[in-house]
Amino acid sequence: MEIGQLNANHAAFLLQGAMWTVVLSAIACLGGGVLGMGVALCRVASSRFLRGASGAYVQLVQGTPPLVAMFLLYFGLPGIGFDVPALIAAGLALVVNVSAFLGEIWRGCIEAVPRPQWEAAECLALSRIQRLVKVILPQAVRIAVPPTVGFSVQVIKNTSLASVVGFVELARSGQIINNSLFQPFVVYAVIALVYFALCYPLSRWSRVLERRAGSWRRRPAGLATLAAP
């Protein structure tokens, strides 16, 4: 099968690029998730210093385009004597970016657990850590699943930026093929389709989850915990 002059070799090359896109996304989600969990916990910590520091971190990272972060790591660090491979530069930039956004999303989810739940746990003599781990986080996780799945779409799209530091993922493999075929419109249309195929199922899934969570909250008995005046 051929589209334009795209042949099986090109397809294999694209597939390999797509695989690296998935790998990079996974690295970004896992690393960013772990770091983001730390950010979220710091954002709701009782220590003013931790709250302030994590808040500043989020502000700084969210105020920097991931593209610029990649430039900084890949082209900038060698300038002061550190050589960084493209995968590490791109991966690190994405991990940091994801951690700030997921940290904020998850902080919102923790704060979405009704205040009286904290209070009830406190009155049962649970320590602050026990309150967080046994009462608040299990509820926050449920709230967090749909927006987190939705955000993973964002992560996959952002991995395309790794192409600018020469990392051969999906977008970069498209550029390379285009350099030999010189049919940019066809090539990029195919690339866009592959991205769509990766992202759309996740978007749909997150929307389904959101609707389900919404109906769970609307069920009258479920309102019990939200009924505080």
Partner: protein, 250 residues
């Protein structure tokens, strides 16, 4: 300790939220085994007084001693206080992600380090006490409001507290559901539990109270046995009673 030991003692307690004075010199003593019922309009400071006893609110001035814990003490052991005091809220506040049994065993296992088996046994016992022995494995949202509130009472009882606080626990319930919760509370009072109850249920208050406390404008205006409701001494209580009567017959 003798029977007349004070379990809860408030002396000249003051508390403001910003410019709003909520408690304006409240004093109150509850002896072991006694049931104190606080009544008054919304905004009279009765709920705040109750929340101060479990140190959910920090007071501005005065002194509170609960089960030997001096609440104004800088070295106050909050978790020890909370093991001695059980509190039940208007909005139940059961943990929705845990079953009734898990709700009840959570604190004994993680705070008191009781074995899981023993905690489960206690859970069965307190559930029997509130008439929910067959609901141990239900999730809160599968229960009616009255059942949820009884489960919340059981959860507090499982910590074997020395005093139980009830903050308008029936205000969110229909009349029939209210009755089943009040019955549980009456049984509890009869078993000798020290209780401080904030409520709007006047006939229940009269029936159950060893000491009835009428609050108005952040102060205790009248206090005495339940029968003070029949013969109010202050115009505020008289007005409050006629208002309540009105509401009841409407």
């Amino acid at each position: 300790m003798t029977d007349k030991d004070p379990v809860v003692e408030l002396r000249d307690v003051h508390k403001s939220f910003g410019a709003l004075k909520v408690l304006d010199g409240v004093s109150l003593t509850v002896a072991r085994g006694e049931v104190a019922v606080i009544i008054g309009r919304s905004g009279s400071g009765k709920s705040t007084a109750l929340r101060c006893i479990d140190r959910l609110e920090v007071i501005d001035d005065g002194e509170i001693v609960v089960c030997g814990h001096r609440l104004t003490d800088a070295k106050l052991n909050l978790r020890a206080l909370r093991q001695d005091v059980g509190i039940v809220f208007q909005s139940y506040n059961l943990f929705p992600h845990l079953t009734v049994a898990q709700n009840i065993t959570l604190a004994p296992v993680s705070v008191k380090r009781v074995s899981r088996a023993e905690a489960l046994e206690t859970a069965q016992a307190v559930l029997r006490q509130v008439g929910l022995q067959d609901k141990a494995d239900a999730y809160p949202e599968q229960l009616s409001g009255g059942q949820q509130q009884r489960a919340a009472i059981a959860r507090s009882l499982a910590m074997k507290p020395k005093v139980m606080l009830f903050d308008e626990v029936t205000s969110a319930l229909d009349p029939e559901l209210t009755a089943e919760v009040l019955r549980v509370m009456e049984d509890l009072a009869a078993s000798g539990m020290t209780m401080v109850v904030v409520t709007h249920e006047m006939s229940f208050a009269r029936r159950i109270a060893d000491q009835l406390v009428f609050m108005h404008g952040g102060r205790v205006r009248e206090t005495g046995p339940g029968d003070i409701l029949l013969d109010p001494q202050t115009p505020e209580l008289r007005q409050f009673m006629s208002h309540e009567l009105h509401a009841a017959t409407r």
